[in-house]
């Protein structure tokens, strides 16, 4: 399953943001207006979804005010799942990327690995409360009960849609092709980093919405290639080092024997 976000239809009302907070019982943060409607300014352990506000000026009269959704993309090949050393994060067959809070050791590698900068951490929790990473769960509890995610449910403009990934991709492509003068002709998330469950169509370049420009290969493949090379490296190194050590010892032995024999020879000749 997947969520389709249409940036043109979004009006930045933050209904989705507040619905997410309410459904997941997340505390509000203390915020300040530092010159933008965007608040909280980024994701955190208490904010699993926030909207980015982007004023984009183009030549002439091309002023746009675009609103970008920032929440877990629930990738098909999640970098965070690949990165987590204890497999606390996992990808479910239905789509959501979830995590086991009883396994997380708080190493925060997933936070580094995620190209979308999604996982966030409970910085204020001490040893006894247990500080773990937190992020959007795709409202897996609602979806499991046949409902749609809280954010989708609240959206009034039709900017958010929930459903089967292939169907939503088809819908998205139909929509952008029917209005080529409005939409960027690309469905973001269809193939990025191997495909994500969050699909975006937009009237402004995706970069402007804060989405990184990514290739189609899953990001972690580079790291995983290194990992798969490991057993070979071990074999190679062990063989190589053992070989060198053996050669060196043989040479030393041979040299010692030569020295001993010459000693002996000396002893023999001297006695």
């Amino acid at each position: 399953m997947a969520i389709l976000f249409d940036a043109f239809k979004c009006t930045g009302c933050r209904g989705c943001q507040v619905a997410c907070k309410q459904w997941n019982d997340l505390e509000a943060e203390i915020t300040r207006n530092t010159g933008s409607y965007q608040n909280p300014p980024r994701l955190s352990a208490k904010t699993w979804l926030t909207m980015r506000f982007r004023e984009i000026e183009r030549n002439g009269d091309g002023l746009t005010w675009a609103f970008g959704r920032w929440a877990c993309m629930h990738c098909a090949h999640p970098a965070c799942v690949s990165a987590c050393p204890v497999k606390a994060l996992y990808k479910t067959p239905e789509g959501p990327v979830l995590w086991d809070k009883d396994r997380c050791i708080g190493c925060r590698y997933c936070m580094i690995a995620c190209p979308f900068e999604i996982p966030t951490f409970e910085w204020e929790k001490g040893l006894f409360e247990g500080a773990r990473i937190r992020k959007c769960t795709f409202c897996v509890d609602r979806v499991g009960a046949g409902l749609d995610p809280a954010c989708v449910h609240t959206c009034t403009t039709g900017a958010l849609r929930f459903g089967d990934r292939d169907e939503l991709i088809a819908q998205a492509e139909a929509r952008i092709q029917s209005q080529p003068e409005r939409y960027v002709q690309h469905v973001y998330g269809k193939e990025e980093t191997g495909g994500t469950s969050l699909l975006y169509i937009s009237h402004v370049p995706f970069k402007e919405l804060g989405l990184p420009t990514l290739g189609t290969t899953p990001i972690q493949e580079r790291a995983e290639d290194a990992m798969f090379a490991t057993p070979w490296a071990v074999i190679g190194l062990v063989t190589g080092l053992s070989g060198v050590a053996w050669l060196v010892r043989r040479r030393q032995e041979m040299m010692r024997r030569k020295g001993q024999s010459s000693e002996q020879g000396d002893k023999e000749t001297s006695s």
């Binding site: 987590c84 050791i105 708080g106 590698y109 190209p115 910085w123 773990r132 990992m227 190194l237």
Partner: protein, 385 residues
């Protein structure tokens, strides 16, 4: 052959007090961290989840402990016996280094009490998993390589004999493990091509991390020897160290060549000189930490003088620390929204405290264990000469 410890004189009692104070401070900060969370004891935030404790304590700590495996490889695998006198201190440096890394992790991890979960929960896809296992195993190897000193001190002949027999296996295991995790610390950052500046991010990251560790290992040995010769009023084995340093310029040259080639092939050479902050950092790192020491170490005159050896070695070590900080913190780009990261004094206090604890431990070992005596040559124990 007796292995009596040489008499030592404590040279700087004040110094020890300072170190002790730093350790206590680190302990206090660690308590703050445990009670109030990571946010209470650091300026880490969701934009910069890894800070000084990872970039310096972990990355540098591991890299700078490379002296252990490089020296052990030199002695036991390549057969360079002349380096045996500096082997034990190198191993101790390595062992303490890895213990310091583990202490740092115990402070940095969100759930430090779950640090052992790596043993039972496996994710072979994860570089971190490999790093964790290798560090665990290698620390065990180091402990075993360190144990002869203890066994000797307490006259435990049987265990001593067993360990001595196993030395080659341990060294091979240690070298393999070190190669793996020195490089995989670099692989940790493979997964962030768009967040780490192109000047540092490359598929060759693991190789660069490994090479810099190989260069830093001997440099650390030089550093450690220079300091302990002062502190413990021992002579500095300049020719030994000079000999050890011979290999360094080759490693640095290889590093430099690969770096240039890598940037050139990726077409990112322009970024090196584009006047941005990152390019300045990169140039400083390369010039001060690679090119300059490479040139210095190549000069025999430098290698014959203890002071210049120390200078050149410090450049390498400093360059490595700088590199790890660039890769881990400064070379990162995260959205402009919200926090940047400036390490807090508390983070530094933990780092310095852990290092201080290491120094104190080193001093204690030097005083109470046969650190500066030669290890028994393998297969020659009991042979009277």
């Amino acid at each position: 052959m007796t292995s009596a410890a040489r008499p030592l004189r404590r040279q700087m009692p004040i110094g020890t007090l300072v170190l002790g104070g730093l350790v206590v401070l680190a302990f206090v900060v660690a308590m703050i961290r445990y009670l109030g969370g990571l946010g209470a004891a650091s300026n880490l935030n969701d934009n910069y989840a890894w800070g000084v404790w990872i970039s310096v304590d972990l990355l540098c700590g591991v890299a700078l402990a490379a002296g252990a495996f490089t020296t052990a490889t030199a002695v036991y695998i390549i057969g360079q016996e002349r380096f045996r006198p500096i082997l034990r201190p190198a191993i101790l440096t390595g062992f303490l280094g890895y213990l310091m890394v583990i202490f740092a992790l115990l402070v940095d991890l969100g759930h430090p009490e779950r640090i052992w979960y790596l043993i039972i929960f496996w994710n072979p896809h994860s570089v971190m998993f490999e790093v964790g296992w290798c560090v665990m195993l290698y620390t065990a190897v180091l402990a075993l390589e360190f144990s002869p000193m203890v066994f000797e001190r307490f006259g435990l002949r049987q265990p001593l004999r067993l360990i001595t027999r196993a030395t080659l296996v341990l060294v091979i295991a240690g070298t393999v493990l070190s190669t793996l995790h020195q490089s995989s610390l670099g692989s940790l950052y493979l997964i962030i091509p768009d967040q780490l500046d192109v000047l540092w991010h490359t598929s060759l990251l693991p190789l660069f991390f490994f090479l810099s560790a190989v260069a830093a290992g001997p440099s650390m040995v030089i550093l450690e020897s220079s300091i302990s010769s002062r502190v413990f009023k021992r002579g500095l084995e300049v020719d030994l160290l000079g000999s050890l340093a011979k290999a360094i310029p080759f490693v640095l040259a290889l590093y430099l060549a690969l770096k240039i080639a890598d940037l050139g092939i990726a077409g990112e050479f322009d970024n090196v000189f584009d006047g941005s902050r990152n390019s300045a950092l990169f140039l400083a790192e390369m010039v001060g930490g690679v090119i300059l020491p490479m040139v210095l170490f190549a000069l025999p005159a430098i290698r014959r003088n203890g002071m210049t050896l120390l200078l050149a070695a410090s450049l390498v070590v400093g360059g490595l620390i700088f590199n790890r900080i660039n890769v881990g913190i400064l070379g990162f780009s995260r959205p402009a929204e919200a926090a940047s990261y400036v390490p807090s004094w508390m983070e530094f206090s933990v780092t310095f405290g852990i290092v201080s604890a290491g120094l104190i431990a080193f001093g204690l070992v030097a005083r109470f264990l046969p650190l500066f005596t030669h290890a028994e040559k393998a297969g020659e124990e009991g042979t009277a000469q």
